[in-house]
């Protein structure tokens, strides 16, 4: 059994670049993969690795995140000890201390008193903008066996990769990190994308924070870049499906990949030994009527399907009336598509109503977004 670890999840990276999806919610609370929110993957990965002491750092519109998490019971994290500790910025008597957690390092510095109390030997840092299902205990084992200072989970990217903002890219030799860089595009010199999962000893995290305070470093990535040469950083290569959502288009493309690619579904959703936990609602089974035609789609509970659904991701409690055609779409919870409406390449946020006969179309490189609660 792996030694005990604590988890820290950062809930709000990329709020700016995902603008539409995050106008009402933090990144961690973005609905993804039909019935989940992005944070479910980070939480489930930790829970499946027996991590039950988890700190969630939030600074941006976290109302829906809080509502989603509740007591943590749906992840088996409503514990007498540990469980979920929610950490958000607060005011202090000294206004100059008032940090808004705008970077990882700022948040880590501010939660130093919590980190000092962690008794677990290891700590796993995770961003919530990447959906993947990974065996974290194996990452910890690997970290322990290599004796690295930090183990960074990476995924090889192919030529043509591009993100909306620069991301941490890495090159490694036999697992040892040789170069780190911030880049938004593929570069053969550092072809591994960091997936926002870092494992280190708790003691190392404490020294890292001390150093950051001493040198007034405000970026976790800057710390890694600065210490790359003098420290032992190792990579852990992950080869399954990973949705690193840095933009609205990323979001759409990864959603479509889940629909179109069986191996993506198997990697993210269907691993028997690694169930993804999420907030459960009381909902009825989905009803497919005799006029329904559904092809190659993921559908959550409580839906009523009377029309046609092709290559789409349909969240809970969606109604698609007779004659309506939904193709290559992502429809969030509560969407209502009335009779004979035609939707193509649409991402509809919560509780959108598409009136009878309306035709809306985006294209695969420019999906059309309908904001929460809109009636079209």
């Amino acid at each position: 059994m792996a030694k005990s670890a604590a988890g820290i999840i950062f809930s709000s990276l990329n709020n700016n670049t995902l603008s539409r999806l995050t106008s009402d919610r933090t990144v961690a609370a973005i609905p993804f993969a039909c019935r989940y929110r992005l944070i479910d993957f980070a939480l489930s990965n930790m829970v499946n690795a027996n991590i039950s002491n988890i700190y969630i750092v939030a600074n941006y519109k976290y109302r829906s995140l809080l509502e989603h998490l509740g007591s943590g019971k749906d992840w088996d994290l409503a514990r007498r000890e540990g469980g979920i500790t929610f950490i958000s910025p607060f005011q202090t008597a000294h206004l100059s201390d008032n940090k808004m957690f705008s970077t990882h390092m700022e948040a880590l510095k501010s939660m130093k008193e919590y980190i000092d109390e962690i008794r677990d030997e290891f700590v796993v840092l995770m961003d919530s903008d990447t959906a993947l299902t990974i065996d974290v205990s194996d990452v910890i084992r690997s970290h322990e066996s290599t004796g690295a200072d930090v183990t960074i989970v990476t995924s090889q990217v192919a030529d043509g990769y591009s993100a909306k903002t620069p991301r941490l890219m890495i090159s490694s030799v036999a697992g040892k990190v040789t170069q780190l860089a911030m880049s938004a595009t593929y570069d053969e010199r550092h072809p591994e994308l960091a997936l926002g999962i870092y494992v280190m000893r708790t003691a190392y995290l404490r020294s890292l924070i001390d150093e950051a305070e001493a040198y007034n470093l405000n970026s976790f990535t800057m710390f890694l870049l600065k210490n790359c040469k003098s420290s032992s950083y190792m990579t852990y290569k992950y080869t399954g499906f990973a949705a690193s959502v840095s933009s609205f288009l990323d979001y759409y493309k990864y959603s479509m990949e889940l629909v179109k690619n069986e191996s993506a579904r198997e990697s993210l959703l269907w691993k028997k030994e690694a169930p993804i936990f999420t907030r459960v609602h009381n909902s009825a089974p989905t009803k497919h009527s005799s006029s329904a035609k559904v092809e190659n789609s993921l559908i959550a509970d409580e839906c009523v399907i009377e029309g046609t659904v092709i290559n789409s991701v349909i969240f809970r409690d969606v109604t698609i009336e007779k004659g309506a055609v939904v193709k290559d779409c992502v429809l969030f919870h509560g969407t209502h598509v009335c009779k004979n409406a035609k939707l193509n390449c649409i991402v509809a946020d919560k509780d959108v109503v598409v009136s009878a006969g309306v035709t809306l179309s985006g294209n695969e490189n420019m999906p059309f977004y309908i904001q929460k609660g809109r009636k079209i």
Binding site: F277, N282, T286, H288, S297, I299, E302
Partner: protein, 382 residues
């Protein structure tokens, strides 16, 4: 702690349900799956919480494990309460008597101390055998208004079936003058639903007297109700109108499942106003494949459908592979129907594997000829 309640419910869930054959070999009848995501017991429990009753004793006896596990702390029905909530009440060893529950009345008798703890004015007696939505509050209101010692919920059944039920013969004001258990020549078709509201004092008195009667079979329908009538107590019938189905047989269980589908189903589970709650899990969403056909069916989470599903109710985690056909059937959790297999007019219990090319049941067989496959079976090609 002070925890007085106006009305508490006692749910008789110990029945074997022997006419459900293999479905109840390992589990009690109230724990039998229904409607894709539910168990029979979800209906009375949801009715309780929807009627404002937050204290429920669940009396178990036969194969209680699955039921205990399912009910657990009652959180699924919002019955995890600091004062009240849900309690599983199995038979127990006492310092004088140690007995299995001998009959429905004896089961309640053995738990009089549980009732007394909540000091209720009224006790609602329920069974875990029926699919129905009912607001018990309306029945309680009538019980209070009439000042009855006991109110018996009744439903109109077809006259030709009346002799299978306990029949209430009533005066025009609804008071009962005669109760006949399975009469050969029924005088009317108001059948008892096995739902009673008692004024607590009367209930305890009659249960204690009944216990002393060695010839009694300790049953509500056979002993308690006739004794109340014999002593001139005030009994009223409460006429219930709405969907109600005894799912005690394979064909009635199948029929009740079929009542959930169709464009305008007789029983809708999606009803927002009077929800039926159940224990939900975090299975993955359902995936409907490229060449799949899903027609007039209920599909639950965790299913992967690559083949054809017609007029069926499919529980969570079921896989229907390419070329397979499931028609007019009820398929319970985690069943795998492999390539080109056929499932017609069947109830297939959980964790069964229908091997590639195998056939279960007969097409268009109808309710008299339902194929029943026990949990965990492996059906091979003939």
């Amino acid at each position: 702690m002070y925890c007085k309640k106006e009305c508490i419910a006692m749910l008789l869930a110990g029945g074997q349900g022997s006419r459900l054959y293999d479905l109840t070999r390992q589990i009690a009848k109230p724990a039998v799956s229904f409607g894709g995501k539910y168990k029979i017991i979800d209906f009375p429990l949801s009715n309780c919480i929807n009627s404002g009753i937050d204290t429920v004793g669940v009396l178990t006896q036969y194969q209680p494990f699955a039921l205990n596990e399912y009910v657990s702390n009652g959180q699924a029905w919002d019955l995890d309460r600091m004062r009240g909530g849900i309690y599983v009440l199995p038979p127990y060893q006492g310092n004088k008597h140690s007995d299995w529950y001998k009959g429905t009345a004896n089961a309640i008798y053995q738990n009089i101390n549980f009732i007394k703890k909540y000091d209720p004015e009224y006790v609602l007696i329920l069974s875990g055998d029926h699919i129905y939505r009912m607001d018990y509050k309306k029945m309680l209101d009538q019980h209070k208004a009439t000042g009855a010692a006991c109110t018996v919920a009744t439903i109109t059944v077809p006259m030709e079936e009346a002799s299978r039920f306990g029949i209430c013969n009533t005066n025009p004001d609804g008071s009962i003058y005669e109760f006949e258990e399975k009469p050969k020549a029924p005088k009317n078709n108001q059948a008892s639903m096995g739902i009673y509201i008692f004024t607590t004092k009367t209930l305890i008195e009659y249960l204690e007297n009944d216990e002393e009667d060695e010839n009694s079979s300790n049953d509500f329908g056979k002993n308690i109700i006739p004794n109340l009538l014999g002593n001139g107590e005030k009994l009223y019938s409460y006429r219930f109108e709405g969907y109600w189905k005894d799912v005690g047989t394979i064909s009635s269980l199948w029929e009740a499942n079929m009542d959930l589908i169709g464009d305008d189903p007789i029983l809708s589970l999606a009803d927002q106003d009077f929800r039926i709650y159940s224990k939900n899990t975090a299975r993955s969403p359902q995936y409907i494949g490229n060449s799949a056909v899903v027609d007039n069916s209920l599909i639950s989470e965790g299913c992967r459908i690559y083949g054809t599903v017609i007029n069926s109710v499919i529980s969570g985690g079921v896989v229907v592979e390419k070329g397979a056909i499931v028609k007019d059937s009820v398929v319970m959790e985690d069943v795998v129907v492999k390539k080109d297999a056929r499932v017609y007019t069947a109830i297939v219990d959980s964790d069964t594997v229908v091997e590639s090319g195998a056939t279960v049941g007969k097409e268009n067989a109808g309710k008299a000829d339902i194929a029943l496959i026990a949990s965990g079976s492996v059906i091979s090609k003939a």
